[in-house]
Subunit: 500 residues, 2 copies
């Protein structure tokens, strides 16, 4: 990275600011992990004050008075391609932090907090009318936010929101891709459910002691290449992947009656973790050295959980580990294990959905939130649209059932519009990575079955992990897989797993 | 606390700065705890950078350009006694942060780090000559530091260093007190050792599984009033009490062959913890709401460990707990337990010393370091003085044995002069607290024996914990116990425990 302060003084100033920000984020990330995984309740008030102070400091740093001038000057400085990519990400960060007036940021925080807080009791009470009262204000502010970001970027309003989560991806592409998926998904789900109706599945018998589950998870994480010298596994009420690239903190939650939930959750988080643990070391401390996007991050967790761990080859690796930690039982036979991990069931709840029905939940939300932000519909229109789309995509009636319908997610109450597509983009990227991997390593599944996961890690490392933010997402996809995002890989993956 | 910004605008500015500092210290304390108790080795480099950034921020805040002006102006503002005490502590903090020129702080850090780093291998190699090469520079800088602090405070050079650890205590007092102790301590130790030579002590038989020790420690901490809703017990290589007043983080270290070390260490740290957990809530966030001093802090850990837990009454409470967690054995009989916890043995190593011989180790160091800082001796003179004083106080020959002599502590290599007296002042304060407590609650020992520790906690809370930094140490001692620090209480405590 050319950052010789003599020839590129403004760029050098910017790298200094971002190095400082990186260290602030380190502090924020570790105390945030601590709050969720370690802190006793008595610490919460003082912690909230300390974290707010740090966030204010971070905001002041990202909106520093000289940044705009340095960004402008750095554009004209002699920079190599890598430094230029870093500069692009610096500008993105600056735009994110500076696009909105202070008053709007405050109004957004306030409205989101009020709506989310009320939503916690309105959801169980199925109270859509009550929710609407707060939600209309959240939508109003989100539209204003989208308008300002759109002016700033030249994107459409919804695209301006989505670009913060998936840089370079536009709704025109998402429309085309999700449109295609809508064409074949309902039939595929129908056939998968029908086929599985004839299969016999043995359910594992618990209890599964927490200590044994912890040992199993640790062993599987090790098998998946997690570096315990640069990370930890702990417990929290809501599992997450936190910490910093140099020290990744995963959490899980144990249920003695069900080991699979914690195990698959841990495998999912391990995918996120390996991305972080293998970001390019030379670029750490700069925007260039961070993970590309929410969708690409999700493609790593889904590569581990969906593509790898729920595959038939991996079930053969898992079986002996389960026997060793929990004792032998018929349910641990590899074919049965694989069947257990690939059940398809149409349901109303997104977070409980399997990989085949999940896209339906996302497409529905994407279509509604885009129309909402672009001003084509109003908040009041959501339940009818929700029901209509749920019926078309999954054949489910959701009339009057708001709590398992449009009230189920925290994203909208919080004002997080533009995020939902990342989940399904991530699933599609993951399928596309594995298709490319199979072209490069034709014997891939045999090697996985033999316990040799190196080809998976090597491909992901070379094509995704080591790239950081060098390219925007579409370019990363093309470079990694030889083509733009192509939902046919995801379709073929689902067909191979659920219809053959 | 009068801090109406209309009548005391400068004081109000100062409280804002200190509220911000408090939140920064919160972050520093939690990530510091994490580094010692949780962080995998791979995180250390990034963590060091993040902590250095935060420390630089804290230093900039403590040396902010307007602080001097605000401090001066606040002196003339109408403040009540409590606000005035807070202002006194603000000035102390400002002086600590600003007394030394940047260049001296840097030179001190550098020399201390170099000397300490080399000392780690020089100590096991018994290499006094090699140590001296770095140590002379540490002494030179410490003397310069003492000279500048003395100019600033009007104290003697050594007193200026000591005042940072024990506000208000002067070497004139320490000389008188330690001089008195030197008069009776060698004889007392002699008689205690002779008496114990006739006693039979049964040593507990291990191993003591870590899980059982952890459960025992947790139960004893609960008995001692530790609030687990506002703190945690974890493990680290070097046990410490960290975190923040609202969320105290203790650590211990387990040895399967010896439960007593971890148990008594945990009790010691619980004393520190209860002080922090019971600092005045209304003053938290300001200097006034922090613990008074290192010596007073140590008086709390020693109140718990030495005065309370190693007493005969407490052994009766401990015995059934040990039986429950480790199974019954003759060593757990209360009289035997008490004997085990009160062995006196003259040794060369301070950190292994019992409460009777410990003051000898401290007095020796105090006399040497004070003479060194005042320029009455040179670093080269230390080994001969060390040997002479060890002989006089404990009858031990240390000639040529530097590693168990003047090379044994990390304090001097790091340049921390003026700290050692706090250990023994703490032990004496603790004895004086318990003497006052027994006057107030004549049936104290019977109540402890009956498992009622409330009188201990109530006295400490009313007289020490709730006082924060309202007074300097000598005033706190007078208010709490009705007299100035009086080593006779410590003497009577030792005589009662070891000679009767």
């Amino acid at each position: 990275m050319t950052s010789d302060p003599k020839v590129a003084p403004s760029f050098a100033e910017l790298t200094r600011v971002h190095a400082r920000l990186y260290r602030y984020y380190h502090l924020a990330s570790i105390v945030g992990w601590d709050r969720n995984a370690m802190m006793p309740p008595g610490g919460s008030e003082a912690r909230a004050a300390a974290e707010a102070e740090l966030n204010a400091l971070i905001h002041r740093t990202r909106t520093g008075p000289r940044l705009a001038e340095w960004l402008r000057a750095a554009e004209a400085e002699p920079l190599d391609a890598i430094a230029r990519a870093n500069l692009r990400e610096m500008r993105r960060d600056w735009r994110d932090a500076n696009a909105l007036p202070e008053s709007l940021v405050e109004a957004k925080t306030l409205a989101g907090a009020r709506c989310e807080h009320a939503w916690r009791s309105q959801r169980p009470a199925n109270d859509w009318r009550g929710f609407l009262e707060n939600f209309r204000e959240v939508v109003r502010i989100a539209r204003e936010e989208a308008r300002l970001l759109a002016e700033d970027t030249g994107f459409s309003r919804y695209d301006a929101l989505m670009d913060r989560f998936e840089p370079g991806v536009r709704s025109q592409d998402v429309d085309r891709i999700f449109g295609e998926v809508k064409g074949w998904l309902p039939d595929l789900v129908e056939r998968a459910v029908a086929k599985q109706g004839h299969e016999e599945v043995i359910v594992p018998k618990g209890p599964f002691p927490v200590a044994a589950q912890r040992a199993l998870n640790t062993e599987v994480m090790t098998l998946l290449g997690f570096d315990f010298a640069a990370g930890r596994l702990d417990e929290s009420a809501h599992p997450f992947s936190g910490g910093v690239a140099e020290d990744v903190r995963l959490t899980t939650r144990y249920h003695e009656s069900d080991f699979a939930r914690s195990l698959l959750g841990t495998i999912h988080e391990t995918g996120h973790a390996r991305y972080e643990q293998n970001l390019p070391r030379a670029w750490l401390g700069q925007p260039l050295g961070t993970a590309r996007s929410y969708g690409v991050h999700e493609s790593q967790s889904l590569s581990f959980e969906m593509q790898l761990a729920r595959g038939r080859a991996f079930a053969g690796l898992l079986a002996p580990l389960l026997k060793r930690h929990f004792g032998d039982q018929p349910a641990f036979e590899p074919d049965n294990l694989h069947r257990l991990m690939t059940r398809v069931k149409r349901g109303r709840i997104r977070v409980d959905a399997d990989e085949a029905t999940y896209p339906a939940h996302v497409i529905l939300r994407y279509e509604i939130e885009r129309a909402l932000i672009e001003g084509e519909i109003e908040a009041d229109d959501i339940p009818a649209l929700w029901d209509q789309k749920m019926r078309a995509l999954l054949g489910l009636d959701t009339r009057g059932n708001y709590q398992d319908g449009c009230l189920q997610d925290v994203h909208w109450p919080e004002g997080a519009f533009g995020y939902f597509p990342s989940y399904t983009l991530g699933a599609m990227y993951a399928a596309q990575w594995f298709a490319a991997m199979r072209r490069a390593v034709p014997e891939l599944d045999a090697r996985i079955a033999a316990g040799d996961l190196a080809p998976v890690f090597e491909w992901l490392s070379a094509n995704i992990w080591s790239r950081g933010c060098l390219w925007e997402t579409p370019e990363l996809v093309r470079r990694a897989s030889g083509e733009a995002l192509n939902p046919q890989h995801f379709r073929r993956h689902l067909e191979a797993r659920y219809l053959n």
